[in-house]
Amino acid sequence: MIRVVLLGTSHLGAIKQGWDAISLRTEGITIEFFGAPRQEFFQFQLDRDLILRAPDRVGKATLKILEGLGQSTEIDLSSADVVVVAGYITEAELVEQFFRHHNVDGFPKSGKKPPMSRAAFEAFLEDTVDRAMPPPLWHGWKNQRLILLGGPRRAYRDFDGEAFEHTKPLPPETAPKAYDKLATLVKAKLEKLGIEHLPQPVSTIAAHGYTHPKFNLRSGGLRQSIAMDPRKTNNSGDRRHMNADYGVEVWRSLLEHLGLPAPEIDMEPN
């Protein structure tokens, strides 16, 4: 039996829902979830014995989430075989900022923005990724595999809609190239720190370079995934959080990465 602990921000919600969908058909693996909304998750402290603790003054919402996940305010990672972290590096946010107010040399131009040289872009991207890396206590674990999940990129049905205008992501001709470049960089940086990187499953990415919109339907964050209350699921304008189907795809990819058999799941047709 392999013990896997899944940590993360609100993006852990989709992974939890995905697990709920496949858990009965998955053998040889025990799972624990431990997470909090982004702001609080980044205040969790890891000590040298690999105990991860929520801060003393944790918010009520986070306490409720942890309670819903069957946890107290700390978790022992030292006895885990695999630790997986979701939502630690949100790649979309890392890369989009460079294109929001600049036309980067070598990428298709959009709008009247000042140019940014390719050298500046590469240096800025590297700097941003360096600073997004986990702190030293998370590096080079000897007895556990630590895996950071990539993605999810935002989900869009098309690029003419109001939502696209509102959120101003990368133009479709730029997105795949920029995201792929970032994912390669993130993977290389993490590997140097002894951390594995599992990119967003290719099966969830549409031709336009963003997440396929079907993975965004009836989606919700961590709180919604525990409450499982459809009235609380947020699908009006939230392009960032994915649904159970997305979680299933991540599980397929993760189980394959771990060398474990993935259950047969029929996905809903589009």
Binding site: F42, Q43, L94, Q97, F98, R100, H101, H102, D105, P114, P115, M116, S117, R118, A119, A120, A123, F124, D127, T128, R131, A132, P135
Partner: protein
């Protein structure tokens, strides 16, 4: 006969003995008495030689409204952004060492000046001859340089036109110019890029009258193109020359250069009500500090020196008592990694490259 001296009963600051000799070492004293106040809402544009970067940074940290018309994307660390000329000044013009260069840039922004030989090549890469340090590895093509410069000029003009206060640090009297047209460059050809050809480029050591005329001309033009009636705060850089091409000993050349620049600043201060002088040069080089504000190379200004000078400036303008009060308070790990740096290494100064040419 009453022989009461005009030096009788002057304030303590007027006498060397009380104002300097008896002042505690490293106490900057009351060297600065602003001619006019600096409103927190005033839009400030900064430019000048390397030391001007400290001035801009201190003002930004003290929450003054320092303009940045070409900002780096959010989230990029200051150190990396500055390697590409972002956040150093109010636009990405890099260091402006001479007033001639400042005047030339404003003229170029207005379409009145077209600098000669605007693109310099080095190892197959192309550099903007007027700001080679802002793209340290250069561009792939000449056209890239021209395209980026065109965009830069638009933003630089906004920085000039939009300011209520223009802060400028006078850096050098020495420069290299294009022989035929007089175009001035911030670096000598062949230092960062380009090729030194004595038939095309020549050395200039600007005189007091030339520098004075250049700044007066700059001031007049800025007043004409701005509806804000901008004021000026000028300083003389305390950083000595890295090298001189004048033929004199570098220490003698430095003394000449600083004396000329300081004299121009003094004349501008006395001539114009809207020009104030901040004595950073005097604070850093004061005999009272006995050289303590310089690093071991006796050239770079130490962090302590910068803090002393800028604290005095900020205190005089009612901003804060101490630079250390301005330091970013880290909140969490990610924010800590974003904290602004104040280290001397972060100052971009292409002049230092001249040291590599020493035998």
């Amino acid at each position: 006969m009453n022989t009461s001296s005009p030096y009788k009963d002057l304030p303590e600051r007027a006498y060397w003995k009380t104002a300097v000799a008896e002042r505690s070492p490293l106490d900057p004293g009351d060297l600065y008495d602003p001619k006019f106040g600096l409103d927190k809402n005033a839009r400030i544009t900064t430019a000048g030689s390397c030391f001007a970067q400290h001035v801009g940074r201190a003002l930004r940290n003290a929450r003054f409204r320092v303009m940045d018309t070409e900002p780096a994307p959010k989230g990029v660390s200051d150190t990396v952004a500055q390697k590409f000329g972002y956040g150093m000044y109010s636009a990405r013009y890099g260091n402006i060492y001479t007033v001639r260069q400042l005047n030339q840039l404003l003229g170029e922004c207005l379409g009145n000046v077209t600098p000669a030989e605007p693109v310099w090549e080095h190892n197959g890469r192309y550099f903007d001859a007027q700001r080679p340090s802002v793209e340290p590895t250069g561009f792939e093509t000449r056209e890239d340089v021209i395209r980026h410069r065109s965009s830069h000029l638009t933003h630089a003009l906004r920085a000039f036109q939009g300011c209520d206060v223009f802060v400028f640090t006078f850096g050098l009297t020495e420069a290299w110019v294009h022989e035929e047209t007089g175009t001035v460059y911030p670096t000598a050809p062949g230092t960062m890029a380009g090729r030194y050809d004595p038939a095309r480029f020549s050395f200039r050591n600007y005189k007091h009258s030339e520098i004075l005329d250049d700044f007066v001309s700059f001031r007049e033009t800025l007043k004409k193109i701005s509806d804000k009636n901008p004021k000026f705060i000028i300083t003389t850089s305390p950083v000595p020359l890295t090298a001189t091409a004048s033929g004199a000993h570098v220490e003698v050349a430095n003394s000449h250069s600083k004396a000329v620049l300081r004299a121009v600043c003094g004349e501008l201060y006395h001539e114009f009500d809207d020009v104030d002088y901040f004595p950073s040069y005097e604070i850093i080089t004061s005999l009272n500090s006995r050289g303590a504000y310089f690093e071991s190379n006796k050239r770079s200004v130490s962090q302590e020196g910068v803090e002393k000078a800028m604290s005095l400036f900020l205190k005089a303008h009612g901003a804060t008592r101490n630079m250390s009060e301005l330091k970013t308070r880290p909140v969490d790990l990610r924010k800590r990694r974003r904290a602004r740096s104040n280290r001397e290494d972060d100052i971009v100064c292409e002049e230092v490259l001249l040291e590599s040419f020493a035998k």
